[in-house]
């Protein structure tokens, strides 16, 4: 075994003689090159549309709208990554969103009031939210049970779910749309009322910076404790600086999104403030859907890479037999991925129904396609075992940026779909190509 090591080529150096110093520097930071590539692609897409629109597109209000529009798909894509990584698929997510959104609406307007918990009760929305999340978990759990324990292919189970759950939305509401949700619940959808304001937004930035620095220091200490090789100091500082700059920059950007002038005037009148010339500028800060995306992304990333559950999902995806032989309870692991997916659908449904202030029969329709597309554009492989949570979230933003950018520039929606489809194929084709080239590592 001694000579085996020397015969293994160091990663990629044979084929790429290019700017080796730069490559070495990138390798030293140990960052995910693919993820950074996607960030640049996203920036490129936004910038392209910005220029196309004559410099009108990139401004806080538009970008906040874009992210809020993508939030549901982004949240669900984090769960879809784990499902696809473990060699399954979930086609029912859009229909789960439909059922849960309708459940929220009916709970708040009909079922809970019948139990004496009306819309005027301050915590009614929390009860409804908890119940909806429970419904999502139950649906996911049931489908997961059929897949993991009964052994029906996930494609079939969730295809059945797609059809029957969408039908259930009709049956639940007898074919009617339901509206008029709890005021607090509606904040989940973002908008003017559902934003956390200037101070809280800066607080988020501060906490994020501390967390980034803390994490870097902690990791370095851990590796030093065992005497493992550590990143060079400049790389640590650079990563920390980039992370903090991003957190502060995003917060500043969100805080430069102001309350619309009309509402600001109204606010000034109501609170007896005299409006300064040029109007009252009230920063809105982060809306709740963006915070939910951030929170879910962090939590899911943590689950995927720091917990046994995540490790087992990836191990199963990499080699199902190995996972089984290692004594992992693979069936329970698979079922858990579907429960988690159901919960994430319920969170997405909360955002969707809160934005609508109700539920229609087609909430979440076709979401499964966008969610799968986001995961796949984000680098998740159908071969199993490969895919990252942040990648899928970025994938969701890439897809939404295309749709938003095209519609902002007056391209009609059929053409948007044509472009989205082509981009999906190109993105995955490019990914497959680079992976194949890199597979000799």
């Amino acid at each position: 075994m001694a000579d085996a090591m020397t015969s293994a080529p160091a990663s990629g150096q044979e084929s790429n003689r290019g700017p080796r110093r730069f490559r070495g520097a990138v390798a030293a930071t140990e960052v995910d090159v693919r993820l950074f590539g996607m960030l640049f692609a996203l920036a490129g897409i936004l910038l392209g549309f910005h220029i196309m629109s004559g410099g009108k597109m990139i401004q806080p209000a538009n970008m906040v709208t874009l992210v809020v529009q993508a939030s549901g798909v982004a949240i669900m894509a984090t769960g879809m990554v784990l499902i696809i990584v473990s060699r399954n698929i979930d086609l029912s997510v859009g229909s789960i969103v439909g059922v849960v959104a309708m459940s929220y609406a009916l709970l708040m307007t009909d079922w809970l009031p019948a139990l004496g918990l009306g819309l005027d009760s301050p915590f009614q929305w929390l009860v409804a939210l908890a119940a909806g999340i429970g419904i999502g978990a139950l649906i996911g759990g049931f489908q997961g049970f059929l897949i993991a324990y009964v052994g029906i292919p996930s494609f079939i189970v969730t295809l059945g779910g797609l059809l029957s759950l969408r039908g259930s939305v009709w049956l639940l509401s007898s074919g009617a749309a339901v509206s008029g949700l709890h005021g607090e619940f509606r904040k989940i959808g973002g908008g003017v009322l559902g934003s956390i304001g200037e101070t809280a937004t800066w607080l988020v930035a501060g906490v994020a910076c501390l967390a980034i620095i803390g994490l870097i220091v902690y990791n370095r200490r851990q590796r030093q404790r065992y005497g493992f090789p550590v990143r060079p100091m400049w790389a640590e500082v650079l990563l920390g600086a980039i992370g903090c700059a991003a957190a502060i920059g995003l917060s500043a950007f969100a805080n430069s999104n102001y309350l619309p002038p009309g509402l600001a005037t109204q606010f000034a009148v109501e609170n007896g403030i005299t409006e300064p010339p040029g109007g009252l500028k009230i920063p809105l800060g982060f809306p709740w859907p963006i915070l939910l995306v951030m929170g879910v992304t962090l939590a899911m990333t943590f689950l995927a890479i720091r917990r046994r559950f995540g490790r087992y999902v990836y191990a199963y995806g990499g080699n199902p037999d190995a996972a089984e032989l290692a004594g992992i309870n693979t069936r329970l692991t698979i079922m858990k991925t579907f429960i988690l997916m159901g919960v994430l659908c319920a969170i997405a449904a909360a955002i969707g129904s809160a934005r609508l202030n109700g539920a229609t029969l087609d909430v979440g329709q076709s979401d499964e396609l966008y969610v799968i597309a986001a995961a796949v554009v984000g680098g998740t492989s159908f071969a199993g075992g490969i895919g990252t949570i942040p990648g899928a979230v970025l994938g969701a933003f890439v897809m939404q940026s295309l749709a938003y950018g095209l519609s902002f520039n007056g391209v009609n929606s059929p053409t948007q779909n044509v472009v989205a489809g082509i981009v999906l194929i190109i993105a995955v084709g490019f990914d497959t190509y680079t992976r194949r080239r890199g597979s000799t590592r």
Binding site: M1, R306, R311, A315, G318
Partner: protein
């Protein structure tokens, strides 16, 4: 019979498999096979393709359930229903396929299913990497790629990871299914040294191999299987490689084969 083996015979076997049967549909993959293994002993398990070696051994590692028969560990009848049960009895298996999750790094594979965690049940990557560095230092001192997916490692390195996984968790009973099939000469020598070392530590080893020289070199006893049946278990010192080859090919013990059959083999 060598003295070491004679002494071993008086002790309680680490494992005793009695009358194990496994059938796939109508095919009797393992048909009424009994085997035993003593501490510090290497039992070579040989036979042609489809003789039932791997299936038999998989009932011991928990990968398959036997249709009937008994498994005794330290003289006590036990039920091994899945790989977790087997591991609870310190039975470790190095599969022919290695059974590695290719997308996960070496420490992740060594600890797969038995991850070290922090007090808050988070994965303790530091501890796992540290332990893996130590055990790999013994098996393959030049190995440095602890953070690459094992997919990108060479055959020998992957084999070392699979062995490290079995060795690290204080195996008492070690099953090695073709441990040297994918290895070059230098690596094979290293695995042989390792087997001798583990044997001296008192571990019982089932060694499955196609390589009759490997088996003769390392085993104390040799069990031959033929079409799911156990032809016989012999002390290595009592037989020649030709005897064993005849058993593998004809499915008969040395005394049972006719002169004509043996003549045919020579040709």
């Amino acid at each position: 019979m060598s003295e070491a083996v004679a002494a071993a015979a008086e002790r309680v076997p680490l494992v005793e498999m009695r009358n194990i049967r496994v059938a796939f549909g109508g095919v009797r993959a393992v048909d009424d096979v009994s085997l035993s293994l003593y501490p510090g002993e290497v039992v070579g398990l040989v036979g042609g393709n489809g003789a039932g070696k791997s299936t038999l051994i998989r009932t011991l590692s928990g990968a398959h359930r036997a249709d009937s028969g008994e498994i005794l560990i330290d003289g006590q009848p036990q039920v091994i229903g899945n790989p977790r049960d087997a591991k609870a009895f310190n039975i470790e298996c190095i599969y022919q396929t290695l059974a590695l999750a290719d997308n996960i790094n070496a420490p992740g594979n060594v600890f797969l299913g038995r991850e070290a965690t922090t007090p808050w049940w988070n994965l303790d990557d530091g501890t796992m990497e540290d332990a893996t560095r130590k055990v790999m230092g013994r098996l393959n001192p030049n190995f440095k790629r602890f953070n690459s997916p094992v997919q990108s490692l060479s055959g020998g390195q992957r084999q070392a990871v699979a062995i490290a996984r079995a060795v690290y968790f204080n195996a008492r009973i070690l099953i090695m299914d073709e441990p040297t099939a994918a290895l070059g000469p230098a690596e094979t020598a290293q695995v042989r040294d390792l087997i001798r070392q583990l044997k001296n530590e008192g571990i019982g080893i089932f060694l499955i191999s196609h390589d009759i020289h490997d088996v003769f070199d390392l085993s104390d006893r040799i069990s031959v299987m033929y079409h799911g049946r156990l032809v016989g278990t012999l002390n290595k010192d009592d037989v020649t490689t030709d005897d064993v080859l005849a058993m593998i090919i004809l499915g008969k013990k040395p005394g049972e084969a006719t002169r004509e059959e043996l003549e045919e083999l020579r040709v």
